[in-house]
């Protein structure tokens, strides 16, 4: 992954952007600059919560994060700047902000995938604020031109106008059969959002329920995560399903049906971010069809 040239004395260990490091918080991602990096023994880096009232700067505008349980991202938009968002995350706006809609393609597919149909844009000048609907952390991902990341659906909060947005099939699925019942499961959602900055640095804000951890995978390095725990990944990171069947004492507990574990394999190189709150995939029935997957029977 290419990095922007260092222009300051401080390089943020979380977003890798350079700054003076004198404001108490990284101006690109809001991470505090005066805390020790917390790394678990296995290599997960805890993303430090953005401090109450910390400011992130983008273009000629600011984003201020307030609150701690369900943080609010308040944008102070300059005349020339705009942001886009899904309408259900809007919390408040001053009347000067011009609200409109962002043209979206594939409405029918999005509706079928349970994705929001409406993407709105807010044009400065003025203040506008956003929040999610569950306790967790706001994650700011500054994107320099040419960098693209994949984000799990429903994690997106707001992005600056120069961040391009696309969505595609996640292509991670499995089908279970239980008697005559057949069901297709999408453990990371039917679709994934992709964001890439163009024409200048961009800012992407996500919301992760619970706490957030990041990890850099070396080329070929693999890690298994709960599919519902993934927030985002670099596009260089491959993902596919992995089924584990623990050994059982009896034939009916041999886990073909109930005791299997559905993992998401993430393979480097690249960065991944996970959240500590997730839903487990449903387990009923035997798996008989999948997207690309590996299997382990213990």
């Amino acid at each position: 992954m290419s990095m922007p040239p260092a222009q300051g004395a401080y390089t943020c260990p979380y977003c890798r952007m350079a700054s003076e490091g004198t404001d108490g918080a990284c101006p690109h991602c809001g991470a505090p600059v005066d805390v020790r990096r917390r790394v678990s023994d296995s290599g997960w880096v805890e993303q430090p919560p953005i401090r109450d009232m910390a400011r992130i700067r983008f273009s000629r505008s600011t984003c201020q994060i307030s609150g701690t349980y369900v943080p609010v991202a308040e944008m102070g938009l300059h005349d020339d700047d705009w942001v886009y968002f899904s309408h259900h995350v809007l919390l408040h706006t001053d009347p000067r902000v011009r609200l409109g809609n962002l043209p979206m393609k594939g409405g029918w597919k999005r509706m079928r995938a349970g994705m929001p149909l409406i993407m709105m844009r807010a044009q400065g000048p003025g203040h506008i604020a956003f929040s999610a609907d569950e306790p967790g952390e706001t994650l700011a991902v500054p994107l320099h031109p040419g960098r693209a990341i994949d984000v799990v659906e429903h994690r997106f909060l707001v992005a600056t106008g120069n961040v391009g947005y696309q969505w595609q099939n996640a292509n991670v699925w499995f089908t279970t059969k239980d008697g005559d019942e057949q069901e297709t499961h999408y453990p990371v959602g039917k679709t994934m959002d992709s964001f890439a900055a163009s024409g200048g640095p961009g800012l992407l804000l996500l919301h992760g329920p619970g706490n957030i951890f990041i990890r850099d995978l070396a080329p070929g390095e693999r890690i298994l995560v709960q599919p519902g725990g993934l927030i985002w990944k670099d596009q260089t990171v491959r993902m596919f399903l992995h089924f584990e069947y623990p050994r059982g004492a009896y034939w009916f507990s041999s886990s073909k049906w109930q005791a299997k574990t559905v993992w998401l394999t993430l393979q480097g190189p690249g960065r991944i971010a996970v959240q500590s709150v997730f839903e487990r995939p449903e387990m009923s029935g035997a798996v008989y069809q999948t997207s690309g997957a590996t299997t382990q029977r213990w």
Partner: protein
Amino acid sequence: MDRIECQWCKAQNETGRTNCTTCGAPLDTKDLVTDSGWAEAPRLRDMTEFRFSSSTCQIEGEIVPVAEVALAHGDSVFFEHHVMLWKEPGVPMSALNTGGGMKRMLGGMPHILSVAHGPGRVAFSRDAAGEVVVLPLHPSMELDVREHAFLAGTHSLTYSFVRIKGLANVLHGGGGMYMDRFVTYQEPGLLLLHGYGNVFQKTLQPGEKIMVEPGGFLYKDSSVNMNAVKQNVKTGLMGGHSMYLAEMTGPGRVGIQSMYVHHGSE
């Protein structure tokens, strides 16, 4: 003698105190106000204690805080019965008839408010992560609160409920059909609310407006006018969608919560 004014409730406190005796707000920390003027509700420290009448209230916990009230003889608090977490067996209970039974049933609000009388202890909490907001009401104040946000009110408050005006407000306002109204006359009172997520307050000047997602609305002074304003959003799919925002017009305070169920689109 020097006094410290609480920035949240404006009560005067003795120097050296670290918490306001009237609302529990920390007095030794800086107020947190966003660039656009939203003040964070004070984060009450675990085990903070404050007084009303001859009684005390202690806030316990931080994720889903509990308000524990030690009622003195002659004092009482009223509340929706499902927010009561525990009580001492000897605390006498009575019921406060709210009137408007059928209307309240249609509005999904409880018919009867429970009243706990001193002496004794009783504790309250709601069902999701958030903050207890302590609002001392000076004499002759009126405050409107979205339904199901009210945790407990002291005996000197007069409780009523008001129908939200305007069909658009009712259908698209996200706050239901009614708001709880709390009024003080000669005596001050204390109102405890539970806001989901974090709570912020802004004081609007006369004529000043702010647009709020209806699900985020928590409380307002009754002098603040609330109207649902339609926002057209075209999607190119079956004609488009609309969303509604609550337009708040000052003068007065508006309180919002950062975690809410979205009600505003059709």
